[in-house]
């Protein structure tokens, strides 16, 4: 089974603090993603990476940065947190390699999420 783990389930930070959210996957997947999930807004892509040291901006990259030094690990960095970054953060991984014939596209496997509260 694919396993995607996230370093924390819950975090409480004060405005202006720096936050590292770490994600680790154990399936040797090439692609990794960071989303934030907010009620009524669904999942919005922050950044993704298709290879070590490679990163691409998603739909809402402002206020975030990422790091991928190893294939299995993808970190989301909030340099100076603000209250509007209070959210659920979800990490996912995928591979472009097609598996069984029923695998019609690139399945993303999600971690359990980190709920961040910024006070």
């Amino acid at each position: 089974d694919v396993k995607v783990t996230q370093s924390s389930r819950y975090l409480v930070k004060r405005t202006g603090e720096k936050v590292f959210l770490e994600c680790v996957q154990d399936m040797d997947h090439e692609n990794m993603f960071w989303y934030r999930q907010d009620p009524g807004l669904g999942l919005r892509l922050i950044y993704f990476s298709y290879d070590v040291k490679m990163k691409e901006k998603g739909d809402i990259p402002e206020g975030y940065s990422v790091s991928r030094e190893k294939k299995e690990r993808f970190s989301l960095i909030l340099e100076s947190t603000s209250t509007n970054q209070t959210s659920m953060y979800l990490c996912a991984s995928s591979t472009p390699d097609r598996g069984p014939i029923w695998d019609l596209g690139e399945t993303q496997y999600f971690g359990p999420g980190t709920r961040l509260l910024v006070l």
Binding site: L90, G105, E106, Q108
Partner: protein, 114 residues
């Protein structure tokens, strides 16, 4: 610009009912349409997916209906059970040989009452 519109935002059905969740997309280049299911405290997980060369796909009690000309697709849950209570997300992407990103709808919270 919201590329995948999902409705309704929430839905309550009785056990045994058939909830239907609808999605509409704008980008005709999309060629992969998955549905993800998310239980409270968990990350989303792939439930079922379809490519636009077929109009329907069934997996157990879950069915996707796809209308390419209308750029719409929907999820039907037959004989719904309380254990189906979850948030459902439709999504769309363009399949290519490298990487692909998913564009998600805003989600539908489904409650199946006993």
């Amino acid at each position: 610009q919201q590329q995948v519109k999902q409705s309704p935002q929430s839905l309550i059905v009785q056990k045994g009912g058939i909830p239907i969740i609808n999605c509409a997309y704008e980008n005709t280049a999309f060629d992969y349409f998955p549905w993800y299911q998310q239980f409270p405290g968990k990350g989303p997980a792939l439930l079922i997916a379809i490519r636009p060369d077929v109009s329907e796909k069934k997996e157990g009690r879950f069915t996707i209906s796809f209308n390419k000309s209308a750029k719409q697709f929907s999820l039907h849950i037959m004989d719904s059970q309380p254990g189906d209570s979850a948030t459902y997300f439709c999504a769309a992407s363009i399949v290519n040989s490298g990487y692909s990103t998913l564009t998600f709808g805003k989600g539908t919270m489904l409650l199946v009452s006993p």
